[in-house]
């Protein structure tokens, strides 16, 4: 028989305001096995934990139930407290009477009743708990970064500087990401490439960093400290070791009609290409869909002009399998598709562009060599209209419910740069709210308004109508003056909402990392563990977790690196002891459990058993507890009921069911 102590937390007034905590403690004493019950203001405080330790010593407790907040919050705290007091940490159960009770119910009597039932279920379970011992697993001291933008580069540099090996996997032919596409950065107006390219060079030259560009993560198995990852290195059709990066092949390539991804499709590139001048590695790839040689078999000009003999049409995709201890996701973002926003005439007029396209237009390496001009006729614009929140803060399903966070600032930047370089161009910005929380952000926005004379109008734009004379008629409203506005513009720029890279869903599934309804990866705790995924060993860096600007991304990248380093610095990890085990007398060796185990943790052995005096050799399931993650799939699949899960055994769960339905 267990000797159980029940500890009911007030959590200040968080629990005590709606649950009669002393009543819960009083009722606990009537439960089987309970020899001690008390309530206290803050059980998680040092004084609260001391009370638990004292009771364990004085009453010789063999198990405890803490009625408090969610086990996801403080289970670890109370397990450690119990362990310090000499009790096995797995003899602790939590009754969640805060998130699942006091916070959602208003009626005290009802909430107290429910809290008592939750307490009973936990007591019933702990009565059947057994002490468990965690095992150990080794840590592979190498990190994988998925995504080679500024987030991935920064995380890689920080981890590598701490002395650990890092591999970056980047889908496109070069690292650099979105930041490499930007012209200037707010609020200092630094040239984006000037501050990014030194980092790219540093990463590629770092002896601890290996970069796989034009590669994708294909499969992930294993668990924290010991992931096995298959990386598909797509066929570049160019030998990385032989290529000297001279660029002759790109000049001579006769196929120059593929839209340039780097310039957002505003101009074309050759079939063999490096995305941009500072690309790392400076080795081109052949776009096999656009290449004449691959389409018709005739051409081969690049191969003829290549002095180094680096062109290899026969190259095939290669799968590299590598082990990692930690994985950082840094997959970044893209702008949303504007098909559902027909009112802005984005698909009808070349002069309606997104802000990211404007970055390319204003960049010296862009399609217009940095001259601000209309993409339809090359004329210099006189009137420019910026429309904010296109697809952001959207209440219907056309756009995104969240604020994309960066648009207010980059629009102020665009407006300022245009007014500075082309003082005769009038700039009007239609906005819902201007949001500028950030160091020197509001000052920057006010400079755009006060010093550069940018015309900000609070109101939404209903429609953009292309006119026969080539101009764009913008129909909007001015909410402050309460009037309709009709404005003829030469160019319209849409502050398009950003969304996580569409590939992130596939990656999250491979990593079993959780993802929210907007495809942002979920952090382990919204406030206290913002760079960790709930899945151990997976860390989040940059916009894959939520919209953020460059300084925030770099800060988070550093934070993710520190968390990863903290993991890699360990030689061994404690494993979860809540694993499956098989009852030798019940197992009939049918292989059903092996088929459902996602970790290959179950094998079969011929073992001699003593079944009530009958000794015989039987084929039995054996669980490798180092591999078992404790999902319990085998326990339900087992037809003879031999498999059970420690910590969540059949008897424990049934005891909870019985307590709730009593």
């Amino acid at each position: 028989m267990q000797r159980i102590g029940v500890f009911v937390c007030h959590c200040g007034s968080n629990i005590a305001a709606t649950v009669d905590v002393s009543k819960v403690a009083e009722m606990a004493l009537m439960e089987p096995g309970v020899v001690h019950a008390e309530d206290y203001q803050y059980m998680c405080s040092e004084a609260g934990q001391a009370k638990i330790a004292d009771a364990i010593h004085e009453k010789k407790l063999t198990g405890i139930v803490v009625c408090s907040c969610s086990p996801r919050m403080h289970e670890a705290t109370f397990r450690k407290a119990a362990e310090r007091a000499g009790l096995n940490p797995y003899m602790v159960e939590i009754a969640n009477i805060r998130e699942h009770c006091s916070w959602i119910h208003k009626d005290m009597e009802e909430a107290t009743k429910k809290a008592v039932i939750l307490m009973r279920a936990a007591v019933a379970k702990v009565n059947l708990n057994t002490p468990l011992q965690p095992g150990e697993s080794r840590v592979t001291k190498r990190a994988l970064i998925i995504g080679g933008g500024i987030a991935g580069i920064q995380t890689a540099l920080d981890i590598a500087d701490a002395g650990y090996e890092v591999d970056i996997v980047e889908k496109t032919p070069s690292i650099g990401g979105r930041m490499s596409q930007l012209d200037k950065t707010f609020p200092t107006l630094d040239c984006s490439a000037c501050i990014l390219t030194p980092k790219m060079v540093e990463a590629s030259a770092h002896e601890k960093i290996k970069i796989y560009t034009y590669s994708e993560v294909e499969n992930v198995s294993g668990f924290v400290g010991d992931f096995t990852v298959d990386i598909r290195k797509k066929a570049r059709s160019v030998d990385m070791d032989k290529c000297t990066g001279c660029g002759v092949c790109q000049e001579k390539c006769p196929s120059k009609k593929a839209p340039s991804e780097f310039n957002r499709g505003l101009n074309n590139r050759s079939a063999i290409y490096t995305p941009f001048a500072q690309a790392i590695p400076n080795v081109p790839v052949i776009d096999r869909e656009a290449c004449i040689k691959f389409k018709t078999g005739k051409c081969g000009i690049c191969s003829k002009v290549c002095q180094a003999g680096a062109i290899d049409y026969e190259q095939k995709d290669e799968i590299i399998t590598e082990k990692y201890g930690a994985i950082v996701v840094a997959t970044g973002f893209d702008t949303i598709n504007l098909d559902k926003y027909d009112e802005y005439a984005y698909s009808q007029s070349k002069d309606v562009i997104t802000s990211l396209e404007l970055e390319r237009v204003m960049n010296a390496a862009g399609p217009t060599h940095g001259h601000l001009e209309r993409l339809s006729d090359g004329k210099a614009p006189k009137e420019m209209v910026f429309i904010q929140c296109v697809g952001s803060r959207c209440s219907d399903d056309r756009g995104k419910p969240y604020c994309s966070k960066i648009c207010c600032m980059y629009t102020a930047k665009h407006a300022m740069l245009i007014r500075d370089k082309y003082p005769d161009v009038n700039v009007t910005v239609f906005y819902i709210d201007v949001r500028t929380p950030g160091k020197n952000f509001d000052e920057f926005y006010r400079r755009a308004v006060e010093q550069y004379g940018v015309n900000y109008i609070k109101g939404q734009v209903g429609k953009v109508i292309p006119q026969p004379n080539g101009k764009l008629l913008v129909q909007g409203s001015d909410l402050l003056d309460n009037r309709q506005i009709l404005k003829e513009a030469d160019m319209v720029v849409l502050a398009t909402a950003i969304e996580p890279n569409p590939d992130v869903r596939k990656i999250a599934t491979m990593l079993t990392a959780s993802i929210d309804t907007n495809n942002f990866l979920t952090e382990a705790h919204a406030k206290l563990r913002p760079v960790e995924s709930p899945t151990a060993g997976i860390f989040l860096s940059g916009v894959c977790q939520g919209p953020k600007d460059i300084p925030e991304t770099v800060a988070q990248a550093g934070a993710a690196a520190v968390k990863a380093i903290g993991l890699l610095a360990k030689d061994k990890l404690m494993t979860n002891p809540c694993t499956a085990h098989s009852d030798e007398l019940l197992c009939n060796g049918c292989s059903t459990c092996e088929n459902v185990c996602p970790y290959g943790a179950i094998t079969y052995e011929d073992k001699e058993v003593n079944d009530h005096g009958i000794r015989e050799v039987r084929r039995l399931a054996v669980v490798n507890s180092a591999l078992c993650q404790g999902c319990g799939a085998c326990t339900v699949a087992c037809p003879s009921g031999a498999m059970d899960l420690q910590g969540f055994s059949n008897r424990q769960i049934i005891a909870e069911v019985d307590a709730i339905c009593r």
Partner: protein, 146 residues
């Protein structure tokens, strides 16, 4: 207690997987999104840990409704667990319906850790359904009754 009795308070057991739905329930709690106190949650590591036996046991012991929540298909923390759970529950629920435990008393819902609103909405609608169906008398263990 008869079905027409206004004071009928159902017993509802909710099995929630640790990684998505239990966290979704926590989020509903911290966001103060209320649902009736009739729902009591049991934490399981994965929806695939829910043995049909647990659900039968709940009905036998007097539960009026049982709901199982897990990660969205494809998002299972253990990769494939909720696929097994989905198939298993489809079979179990159709059998339960056949023996008189109406389909409305059983439900599977996928709730992610970020879907506090969905968790609370799901529980509200499920409880409403159970109120409309009234007390479950089909599987109850007569030895447990007063």
């Amino acid at each position: 207690m008869s079905i027409e009795n206004k004071s009928f308070r159902p017993k509802i057991v909710a099995f929630c997987c640790n990684w998505c739905s239990y966290a979704g329930a926590d989020l509903a709690g911290s966001s103060r999104l209320s649902y009736p106190a009739d729902v009591k949650i049991i934490r399981v590591p994965c929806s695939c840990r829910v043995n049909p036996m647990f659900i039968l046991r709940a009905f036998e012991k007097g539960a009026d409704g049982v709901i199982m929540c897990g990660c969205h298909p494809g998002d299972c923390h253990y990769s494939t667990g909720n696929f097994y759970a989905r198939r298993r529950m489809t079979l179990l629920f159709s059998m339960l319906d056949y023996i008189g435990v109406e389909n409305g008393r059983t439900r599977v819902e996928w709730v992610s850790a970020a879907e506090g609103v969905k968790f609370s909405d799901t529980m509200n609608s499920f409880v409403e359904k159970i109120y409309s169906l009234g007390e479950n008398v089909r599987l109850g263990d007569l030895r447990c009754r007063n």
